[in-house]
């Protein structure tokens, strides 16, 4: 997976210095939470639903080997073909192989985080294939040669004006205004229709795999994924092994959580189940259907104390509610997966050395956990990653020293009290006149953008004890 997470702080600072780009994020950070809240209130017992789906997924993950076998049997019964990939390179190689066997030159792609993770597009293009992303947001960033900045709204960082400029330069369609979002969408519809019609292979992701019947669930509002799944003669579904659910009804329960958490809709415009190639008598549909199931460390995560992270259904709610994501933007994370879920998943899929800044990109506010439909204890997992960072000595030296000193002091309460009492008296004297402290030794960086209110001369404990003495 392409990664640039150790540049997080620089990128975040750059992003925050560009208000025109942060406007969309700020709007998302208000509107999507509001829409989600309204949808949940209308639903009623959302917590009950959340717990029920969590239990089903936990059950499925606990017996993933058996459900994978059941899924595989049904895939074959449906007339589809099943492939496996241990890592990204293998995923790309399997897909390339299928395309080569069909002498494919043109691919129509639906949105798939797994293929982003594997860098599939680059691998296909390097082999000379033409790949067209058909989800509008993905199409926009593909045309702009950029990466997604949100897992659901990939072109969030682009303004309407920028998209207009992009279409005017990319599409040779003569003079036109393109002054409205509707006209931009109309043009994308017209341009991409040709890609759907000529594609040799359609590649889509999956929102869930159903063990009892070998089906794959696809959830979209645009219908582009369904066009990719039905028009080209070959269909490839790329997803990860942990997506398996036992029954259709489990997928439907999850669907109720997913769409409300993503956009606040009760259901997506298109909710489809794909199982196999054309049957006798069918007038359309793919002649061949393939599943490529990726591991890429999911089996390791399953066996670890981070297995709850596999419950993630990629709704994006944690991103929408995270003050760090809204402030810094998705590109700052330098990973396919940004925001709170990305800050846990990225180190697990790559390494802490390469991405240790991400678990630290957290205020501990806990909103992510509150809104997560999969009930993932994100703040706990982030904290556990920070603890691992510390124990593996990845944390910067001065922080390790500071944390070690603090821990030692905290284990010696009387000494802790004595040291902090001195510190308070000094800080009180330094800041008494202005009422705020703008600089302190060892805290210059932190106080560069913050004012610390001058503390009182005595700590709470000291005041409590002295007033208790007076009462006696």
């Amino acid at each position: 997976m392409h990664l640039d997470s150790n540049a997080f702080l620089d990128r975040a600072a750059q992003a925050m210095a560009k208000p025109e780009q942060s406007n969309n994020r700020a709007a998302l950070g208000v509107s999507l939470p509001r829409q989600r809240s309204a949808a949940i209130e209308e639903f009623g017992d959302f917590e009950d639903l959340r717990q029920s789906v969590h239990a089903r997924r936990k059950h499925a993950l606990s017996h993933l080997d058996q459900y994978l076998e059941q899924f595989a049997e049904n895939v074959i019964k449906n007339g589809s073909q099943l492939h496996f990939a241990r890592d990204s390179e293998e995923m790309n190689s399997v897909v390339l192989d299928i395309c080569a066997r069909h002498e494919a030159s043109s691919i129509a792609k639906g949105k798939s985080m797994i293929t982003e993770e594997c860098g599939l597009n680059a691998a296909l293009e390097a082999a000379g294939l033409h790949v067209r992303e058909t989800d509008l947001g993905e199409y926009i960033i593909q045309s702009a040669h950029e990466t997604p900045s949100h897992i659901v709204v990939p072109a969030l960082h682009k303004s309407q004006a920028e998209i207009r400029e992009l279409f005017l330069s990319e599409h040779d369609l003569g003079e036109r205004d393109l002054g409205t979002a509707q006209s931009l969408v109309n043009e994308a519809r017209q341009v991409l229709r040709a890609d759907f019609l000529r594609a040799d292979v359609g590649i889509i992701g999956s929102n869930a795999l159903i063990a009892e019947n070998g089906n794959s669930l696809l959830v979209t509002n645009e219908g582009n994924g369904d066009l990719c799944a039905n028009l080209p003669p070959v269909l490839i579904v790329c997803t990860s092994v942990d997506r398996i659910l036992p029954r259709t009804e489990d997928a439907l329960a999850m669907l109720r959580l997913l769409v409300r958490s993503t956009t606040g809709q009760p259901i997506s415009c298109y909710t489809s189940f794909y199982g196999g190639p054309r049957r006798e008598g069918d007038l359309d549909g793919p002649l061949e259907m393939h599943f490529v199931l990726l591991d890429n460390k999911r089996s390791e995560i399953l066996a670890s104390s981070y297995s709850d992270m596999l419950q993630c259904i990629r709704c994006g709610a944690c991103l929408n509610h995270c003050p760090i994501y809204v402030g810094a933007g998705g590109h700052a994370y330098g990973s396919v997966y940004p925001g709170p879920m990305g800050s846990v998943l990225t180190p697990l899929l790559t390494s802490l050395e390469e991405s240790h800044l991400l678990p630290n990109a957290c205020t501990g506010c806990g909103r992510c956990e509150e809104v997560c439909p999969a009930a993932i204890p994100l703040p706990d997992l982030l904290r556990d990653l920070r603890a691992e960072e510390f124990s593996h000595r990845i944390t910067a030296r001065r922080w390790r020293i500071g944390l070690t000193v603090h821990r030692w002091l905290a284990l010696h309460p009387r000494l802790y009290g004595a040291v902090t009492a001195i510190a308070l008296r000094v800080m009180h004297r330094l800041g008494r006149r202005e009422g705020v402290l703008r600089w302190l030794p060892l805290a210059g960086g932190w106080l560069a953008e913050r004012d610390l209110p001058t503390p009182p001369a005595q700590s709470f404990q000291q005041q409590l004890h002295s007033s208790a003495d007076q009462d006696v």
């Binding site: 595989a72 019964k77 496996f84 509008l136 645009e222 028009l231 259709t248 189940f273």
Partner: protein, 232 residues
């Protein structure tokens, strides 16, 4: 079934799994807590369904029989396109409609790029979400749901159910021999919010999604009530 990579992945998953026997896995699954569905917008399934369709950005009308159905299709098609051509799948219920009585000229088959209107007959419809269920097969090719500008879907009132699970619980769906290769639950016209989160209709699929609910005792007042309910 499992290639070399698959066997390796399966082995790793077995190592991480709880390794219970199949019977106890089935028992555990059966004991898991049920989940509720979204509340219906009204006690009447028809009213609840139509209100959701409207809220989802669809349009709707009702008909009391076959003649009313083709009249409704005719009115919609001529209003939207000023012509009377439609394409339909081979669903026998579509073939049985008195198209000529409404001056309509259906072509039976799969829609092609450029066809303005397709008419489908839903397998079932769901009041909880305002969705229509369409199996993708000879009776209703996928292209008819996706390639056209306007998609008209006929729903028989007797095929209306309360919640999603009921629509997917048909016995023919459970068996591999009778299950279609795919099915779609459609709950609105194609839409996107990818441009500064503005909701725009007609992304890649149909711009207009028109539902005709057919039942003996249905009348136009129901649609008015559904509109009021949808607006609340």
């Amino acid at each position: 079934m499992f290639d070399e990579a698959g066997r390796e992945i399966l082995a790793r998953l077995r190592h991480a799994s709880r390794r219970s026997n199949a019977a106890s896995v089935r028992e555990e699954l059966a004991s898991l807590p049920e989940a509720g569905a979204a509340p219906l917008l009204a006690d009447s399934l028809s009213l609840a369904f139509l209100a959701r369709v409207i809220r989802n950005g669809g349009s709707c009308t009702v008909a009391d029989g076959r003649r009313g159905t083709v009249d409704a299709i005719g009115a919609f098609v001529s209003m939207r396109h000023g012509q009377r051509r439609v394409v339909c799948g081979h669903d026998p219920r579509l073939a049985a409609l008195p198209w000529r009585d409404a001056g309509l000229l259906p072509r039976f088959g799969a829609a092609e790029d450029g066809d303005p209107v397709a008419v489908s007959y839903a397998r079932a419809a769901v009041a909880e979400t305002g969705s229509v269920l369409l199996w993708l097969d000879r009776d209703n090719p996928a292209s008819n749901n996706l390639l056209v500008e306007d998609h008209v879907v006929i729903v028989a009132e007797k095929n209306l159910v309360g919640r999603l699970e009921q629509a997917m619980a048909e016995p023919r769906y459970a068996a591999a021999e009778t299950r279609p290769r795919a099915c779609m639950l459609i709950s609105g016209p194609s839409s996107t919010a990818d441009i500064e989160m503005q909701l725009v209709v007609g992304a890649h699929g149909p711009r207009c999604w028109h539902v005709i609910l057919v039942g003996q005792s249905l009348n136009a007042a129901l649609v008015d009530r559904a509109r009021e309910l949808a607006d609340r």
